[in-house]
Amino acid sequence: MRYIEPHAHMVSRVTDDYLQMLTAGCAAICEPAFWAGFDRSSADGFYDYFCQLTEHEPKRAAKFGLPHFCWLCINPKESENLELANDVLTLIPQFLERPTVLGIGEIGLNKNSRNEMTVLEKHVDLAARHNQLILVHTPHLEDKLKGTRLIVDLIKSDQRIQPGRVIIDHVEEHTVQLVLDAGMWAGMTLYPESKCSPARAIDMVEMYGNERIWMNCACDWGVSDPLAVPKTALEMRKRGHNAAAIDKLVYQNPLRFLSQCPKFKLAEQ
């Protein structure tokens, strides 16, 4: 089996996780910028984090022959503070030309507040001006439906953004259709409690098709599983999906979306 992990927060993981993922067939890892579990006190904290994502983490992955890519932004959980968000937005352009930066993400909403919307709009504008791909985090639990609608509407209203260059992550059964109908890609996150189980992810593929959709583990500092994607691929096999269908979902699809950024290259290519 081969697969691409399109959403993993490796800065929060131990080196053994790289080895496990590689052993399971991982061909590349993509790491969106996110919340550290605590609020950073200044833009300097983000500067260091962006250096970690673009310099240190690719080196750590390279020890295992794994290409490591990243996405940059200030995440929605820290976007309520507009002053901080503006400072971080000013920092981002200097990193965008770095060789492993794929785009802007994971932007989006958390509690669906006005300030979060303002910061989301600025990120979308930044992506449009710099012709960047966009990776979006949708809110959790009771906030997901409303947040996904607000996000999709906001991005659709910016004529400069091509929907096929946007992935809306953490979809569930009540949001996947509206994302696909908007022409965007949908990410299913295999994460205990708050997101999607392997069985439900496979259900969604069976119900909504396998065209613009991928799976990711979103492993981070919380209870999460870096091997969630290959484990779900094994469950797909039990469910009667053939090798080509599995390969499309876990390898070809992320490859197709991510290759829209010319910097995304796999080792064997």
Binding site: W35, K77, E80, N110, K111, N112, S113, R114, N115, E116, M117, P139, H140, L141, E142, D143, K144, L145, K146, R149, L150, E172, E173, H174, S194, A199, R200, D203, K238, R239, G240
Partner: protein, 90 residues
């Protein structure tokens, strides 16, 4: 897959989860005090299971979701609790 094959694959797991769910409701009802909006949403969501709708997972998720459409004035924290609580401001 046939219905029989799906049952072979998932029945024991679903049975275990259903008993766990029943035990959870018993546990809530054994405990002192009032239920809150979370349990009310939970009971509404439970009704979706027996309606014969083919999109039960979606309907359950909708039962827990914030139905409003406008951004809130300010985020008063970061967490979500799993069910929508109607307040005076929304």
């Amino acid at each position: 897959m046939t219905r029989r094959q799906i049952l072979d694959l998932y029945f024991m797991d679903a049975r275990w989860k259903l008993i766990d769910l029943a035990a959870f409701i018993d546990r809530v009802e054994r405990a002192e005090g009032e239920e809150d909006f979370r349990m009310q949403a939970f009971r509404t969501a439970l009704l979706e299971l027996s309606k014969g709708n083919k999109e039960r997972a979606k309907q359950v998720l909708l039962a827990f979701s914030d139905p409003t459409t406008q951004p809130i004035a300010k985020a008063m924290g970061k967490g979500a609790v799993g069910a929508y609580k109607k307040t005076d401001s929304n």
